[in-house]
Symmetry: C2
Subunit: 347 residues, 2 copies
DNA sequence: TCCCTAAGCACAAACGTTTGTGCTCAGGCT
DNA sequence: AGCCTGAGCACAAACGTTTGTGCTTAGGGA
């Protein structure tokens, strides 16, 4: 036995209380009074009665009639992650400013959950979707896109997404990583380990590309064994860092792909009695309010999360308001390198 | 020019493609076949056609007919805040496990926004609301509650909320603070400053109560001037800490009400060339994954955010499923003190 | 042969809006 | 007096479901 919706004063109730028809009440309350020649006294009376009865128009009825819900779907791998919650914050704000509500879905880093949630959003008749996909699979996104439902992919574009015509907005990982690694090299580092996140995802691939780009620029040979790790987590960062420290005794610097990875690295480095940056320099992707308060504030490549969220929201809302699909575009948001104190100079 | 909902295969389309009536399709798809004596071949055919046409039942139409939307509202002051996003994570997960969707609202720390968003949620016919209020005002919550809409208040219960019959779930701030301060005292501290958050909010009041309780236990006089600050932010923490350091030259310890406040304190302490815990001991409320990686890992009182979210979700979902309002209850979730290395012993 | 029963489905109303169209009445003009 | 016009509102359909009830047919028993 499920509960029913409480507040149930309808247009009809207001109409009855006023002595006019339902349509008149609807038009009066919608501000279409003079377009339909409803006299001012009538309008006033209707408004008064509506207030007295605490009338709140039913959005479900409106949605059904108007064939639009004013709902957008936001699907993230983990809303408790600072990165995604910052994006969600921007989107929610923008949505609310445009009279839209967001229904939030959390895939808990599971692809199967991601798929079913996507279907659920569709069933809820959302007018558009912003998704930060897990980044492994892709077909379900393409499926949504073919249904003409506006969809924006943020952060982890899959390789084939960039080839398809789905709109995406993502950080320019390559350029920022290139810059970050270049700083290391210009401080004399030549053996630079990489703590990577989920392999195959766009951020991962592109950061590696930026890493190799920087090495090439300085004519440093690329050694694939310098890349370790398999997730964006503390544990993965720690294991990978330990592995690298054990394997490469001439290692002078480490690039962590996320701040979680960096924390893991910090653990590994501490455990070996080493310190940053004296023994090992450490740089990371992704900033965090806490990072400058660490034992040694890390030099990082900071994604412009606010911009990511705002651009994604704008792209979606524009489509919803215009009713037109935008052409495929790959929006690249620059990241900026924030210099702190985790790079030592070596000779 | 607004867009219309894309996927628009309806029951009628499936019915037409199958050669049966709409009601038959509805019942077949709802699994009520044998209750309404629909033959197995017919059911099979209907299912096949439905799949071919990519039929997705309209939740708005169902909502209208059934008078329930399967939507719950979650309203937080700032979803990008780790505390609230962790709560939202738990709620979202629980909701989805129970076939409910959550519509997320972010009041951006504004009471007026909070009020209008609450109205919006009502209009969306959500079946229940979980709100982390700003904590200043209260009447609008009471208004919702009177409308019979289940509402759960998490974290910042206003004084009058606890007197009203609204269900709330919150951390046991008082006990945890008492314990935290007691640790300081047992290490010899007697002049303990407090960096407070938004004054008047429940967390603030109760933590002060716990602070005073601990002092009383050890027969240490309470000095109201030892309390400074006015927000849960880094800036407030910094200013307040500077003020205390300037005023009380015999200050040996500081209790920060949030980790943001603690970071501010860290800044202030650093700027004066002091260090934690050698010159000043520092403890804080609220944990954070980063806290153990700080220059000096802080001893904290850790809220059980997961539990907070789960209990709130369960309380709401139970009400929705049962259709009954639960009696007023004040759920207290214990916090645990995590000892790290920010308390020095003084003599 | 007739009636009854059960199987198998169709009809129609209802949920609360929005909106195109139609209806009525009063007043002014000829 | 008759007609026209515009003011002021009501009627009804439609959006896509769900569900109570009614209808038709086939088959079996008397």
């Amino acid at each position: 036995m499920a509960s029913s919706i409480p507040s149930t004063t309808t247009l009809r109730d207001v109409a009855a209380a006023t002595g006019v028809s339902v349509s008149t009440v609807s038009r009066a309350l919608a501000g279409k009074a003079e377009a339909y020649r409803i006299s001012q006294p009538t309008v006033d009376l209707i408004c008064r009665r509506a207030n007295e009865l605490g009338f709140v128009p039913s959005q479900v009825a409106r949605s059904l009639r108007l064939k639009k819900t004013g709902l957008i779907g936001v699907l993230v791998p983990d809303i408790s992650n600072a990165f995604f919650s910052a994006i969600a914050h921007e989107i929610t704000r923008a949505a609310s400013d445009n009279g839209l509500s967001v229904v939030l879905s959390d895939s808990c880093d599971s692809v199967v959950r991601e798929k079913t949630l996507l279907k659920q959003l569709q069933g809820r008749q959302v007018e558009g979707i912003i998704i930060c996909p897990i980044g492994i699979e892709f077909s379900h996104l393409q499926g949504i896109h073919q249904t003409q439902l506006p969809i924006i992919v943020v952060d982890r574009i899959q390789q084939r997404v960039s080839r398809s015509d789905i709109i995406s907005v993502t950080t320019d990982h390559r350029t920022a990583t290139n810059e970050l690694i270049s700083r290391l090299v210009s401080h004399g580092h030549r053996r630079i380990g990489v703590l990577q996140g989920l392999p195959g995802t766009a951020p991962c691939r592109e950061r590696i590309a930026g890493y190799r780009e920087a090495l090439r620029k300085y004519r440093i040979p690329f050694d694939p064994h310098l890349i370790a790790g398999d997730q964006f987590t503390i544990a993965s960062g720690r294991n990978a860092c330990e592995q690298l420290l054990d394997t490469f005794l001439d290692l002078t610097a480490v690039f962590a792909m996320s701040n979680q990875n960096a924390l893991g690295a910090l653990q590994a480095i501490r455990c070996r009695g080493l310190s940053v940056p004296k023994d090992i320099s450490l740089v990371a992707f992704d900033d965090h309010p806490f990072i400058e308060f660490l034992e040694t504030p890390l030099t990082t490549a900071t994604q412009d999360v606010k911009e990511l969220g705002q651009v994604a929201a704008k792209l979606l809302i524009d489509q919803i308001h215009s009713g037109k699909r935008l052409p495929k575009t790959l929006h690249r948001i620059p990241a900026k390198v924030v210099e702190r104190h985790s790079i030592a100079t070596v000779h």
